[in-house]
């Protein structure tokens, strides 16, 4: 068992999938000879050949479109988009075909493909390199949206995504690509695509997040702990279809909920979770729901991007407000 980074776990999972299933192919810009701009496909072209680890011309709409044709013909394409900020030309294919081919043909044809893209900020990248637009994908019926937050979950969830008969958008928190190492057994074990992960049990407040922000959320839970407050931390991991039951069960216990994500506030996926709490968890709520999110702006350039970031301090403050309610005014996280 080797210690690997999150991006290392992605490489492991891709290599395992290529080895186990001859129908798996990878495609994308610079993923072959160069091993991907983040090295997620490092070594795979040499091991599996340029026909299965395909360097494509520069055209995202086509990458998605050819993947549809490959998948319908029985391959299992895993398409890399270099940054989430460059995935938009592919959205037409995702909405119009990837998510619909099975439904349109009543299952005669299907689209078992994976769209991989690194997402999120904090790497001092230029504009368009810090996007967190997972909510756009989570509003598209017919696909699954999956976001890992640790090497082990990256490995198991990616294998599950590749093995899934359904199309999966798999977004990787690039800020965490190399920040932690973890022992990951390359045993081909998948993790479930229909469950949240409870990363930490707690009594006083439920912190719900996914992907990159899990880091700050766990730090906040730690800080709260030092202040004698016990936070439960849920990694949603699979945004859609959503395992709301796990979140509701937690909030039933704690009575407070802080939802954390890096994407802009308005219309972020946090809204869906908060909305479902307002529908199905209202009686459990002892305080207003809090969202700690990115602002409704374009993430500022590297010189000032830290101002956009979701920090452990912001999460801790929101959690403390929720717990102190009604003694302190609520809902200021991103009013």
């Amino acid at each position: 068992m080797a210690e690997v980074t999150l991006v290392g776990a992605v490489t492991l999972a891709l290599g395992r999938a290529l080895a186990d299933d001859p129908d798996v192919v990878l495609l994308g810009e610079d993923i072959g000879v160069n091993g991907g701009v983040f090295r997620a496909t490092e070594g795979l072209r040499d091991a599996f050949g340029a026909d299965r680890v395909i360097d494509t011309p520069l055209a995202e709409a086509a990458i998605a479109g050819v993947a549809v044709g490959m998948a319908a013909e029985g391959l299992r394409p895993v398409a890399e988009f270099q940054f989430m900020g460059f995935i938009y030309p592919a959205l037409d294919q995702v909405v119009s075909h990837v998510s619909r081919l099975r439904n349109r043909t009543r299952g005669r044809l299907s689209c078992p493909l994976v769209i991989r893209a690194p997402y999120g900020g904090g790497i001092h990248g230029p504009e368009h390199h810090s996007e967190s637009m997972e909510a756009l994908f989570a509003h598209i019926p017919g696909i699954r949206v999956v976001i890992p937050s640790s090497p082990a979950r990256a490995y198991g969830l990616l294998l599950a995504a590749i093995g899934s008969p359904d199309p999966v958008a798999f977004f990787e928190p690039k800020r965490l690509y190399r920040t932690v190492k973890q022992e990951v057994a390359d045993d081909g074990e998948e993790l479930p695509l229909d469950l949240c992960f409870v990363l930490r049990e707690g009594r006083d407040v439920t912190l719900v997040s996914w992907g990159a922000s899990i880091k700050e959320t766990l730090e906040a839970a730690e800080a709260l702990d030092e202040q004698g407050l016990s936070a439960e931390v849920i990694d949603v991991a699979t945004l859609t279809p959503l395992d709301m039951d796990s979140i509701l069960a937690s909030v039933e216990k704690t009575g407070r909920c802080v939802i954390v994500h890096e994407a802009p506030y308005t219309g972020g996926f946090g809204a869906e979770i908060a909305a479902r709490l307002a529908e199905r968890g209202l009686l459990s709520l002892l305080s207003p729901v809090e969202r700690v999110t990115g602002y409704d702006v374009i993430p500022p350039g590297p010189r000032t991007e830290h101002r956009y970031a979701v920090t452990a301090d912001r999460i801790t403050a929101a959690a403390r407000r929720a717990i102190a309610f009604p003694d302190e005014p609520a809902g200021q996280a991103a009013e």
Binding site: A62, G65, E73
Partner: protein, 361 residues
């Protein structure tokens, strides 16, 4: 700018005369089969328009005038090739083997029609323009990767060739030498937009030069030319010769769709000239002149087609719509837990409706 040289193929002219020796592949059997199916396409089209006018199917895109294109290319394909059609290509699908009942389901807005028993690798019709062409390239890549002797054929309209997808598809196909043929149905119009305002390119075939792949033109009113040129392009693709573009020059002899009124934007003058080039009469003249088709053959064919069409329409009228929960059941391989509540709710709402006939209208 002077345009590049683009080959043009025609065997039978507007008067039904052979202007070149017909290719060997176009023997008597093939010719009569092409003709029979073109007549089917034309009568099917007329039937659909009348169904639409009487509110029995929604908006319908006519195929009048494009029969040689649709039938010629369908017969140029091998059974295990894969077709990537648009909303206007039902005649090709029928000629490829989907049933009339399936066609009527599709046109009636019932997804079950796309689960056709016929050519199982064929895609359903693409409605968003030009989105199907990259699918064809991906499928072709898969065929090549597996060493299969198959090819993909994507149909695209003249309007569709303005979209980036078309260009990106050609470019990928060129780099990959993928076994795919792009068949352009240049019917002169994209709704109200005439071909010459769609692009300043002298031909649409020359767009292939941008991707470094061969392009040529065929007379799309000549079923033999379409059959031959696309047949050769497909054979070359299957043999590892790479992709190509075939622009077929047709005329859209009627409205864009039943929701359209072409008189708003189209001069009647040229249209009546275009009628003189229409493909069904042309092939009939040729076959008759060659002694391969008689008045009796024609009468028998029409009677046969019409009775099949009547039967199909009646069958469709008697069919029941899919059950209410169907909208949930084919989205994912299994219905996810998160959808179960919505599904239950819909089943409850429409509990009375299943099997009670068409809810449409």
């Amino acid at each position: 700018m002077a345009g590049p040289e683009i080959p043009f193929t025609r065997y039978i002219d507007a008067e039904g005369r052979a202007v070149a020796a017909l290719p060997n592949s176009a023997g008597t059997q093939v010719l009569t089969r092409l003709y029979r199916e073109m007549v089917m396409a034309r009568r099917f089209d007329a039937k659909m328009i009348s169904l639409q006018r009487t509110g029995r199917i929604p908006t319908y895109p006519p195929t009048l005038g494009q029969e040689a294109f649709h039938i010629g290319l369908a017969h140029a394909m091998a059974e295990d090739d894969a077709l990537f059609p648009t909303y206007r290509d039902m005649p090709s699908q029928l000629a490829r083997g989907i049933t009339l009942a399936e066609a009527l389901l599709i046109l009636g807005g019932d997804e079950r029609g796309n689960d056709f028993a016929g050519p199982r690798a064929d895609f359903p019709q693409a409605i968003p323009i030009a989105t199907q062409v990259t699918h064809a390239v991906g499928a072709a890549y898969a065929m090549k990767l597996r060493g299969e002797r198959r090819a993909a054929l994507a149909i695209i309209g003249d309007g569709g060739t303005s979209k980036g997808d078309f260009y990106e598809a050609m470019n990928f196909a060129g780099v990959w030498r993928a076994p795919v043929v792009f068949a352009i149905n240049n019917n002169g119009w994209a709704i109200s937009m005439p071909r010459d305002r769609q692009s300043a390119a002298g031909t649409l075939a020359q767009k292939s030069i941008a991707a470094g792949i061969p392009g040529e033109q065929a007379d799309g009113n000549d079923a033999v030319a379409v059959y031959d040129v696309i047949g050769r392009a497909l054979a070359r693709a299957r043999d590892g010769g790479g992709p190509s573009v075939v622009e077929c020059l047709t005329h859209r002899l009627t409205d864009h769709s039943t929701a359209d009124d072409a008189s708003r934007y189209r001069d009647p003058g040229p249209l009546s000239e275009q009628w003189k080039e229409e493909p069904v009469q042309r092939l009939r003249t040729y076959l008759s002149d060659e002694g391969l088709w008689s008045k009796e053959d024609e009468e028998q064919l029409i009677a046969e087609i019409d009775s099949r069409l009547e039967e199909t329409v009646d069958g469709h009228a008697a069919s029941t719509p899919p059950p209410p929960e169907a909208m949930f059941d084919h989205l994912y391989a299994e219905v996810p837990a998160d959808l179960a509540g919505q599904r239950r709710q819909v089943m409850a709402r429409f509990a009375g409706e299943t099997g009670e006939g068409d809810g449409h209208g």
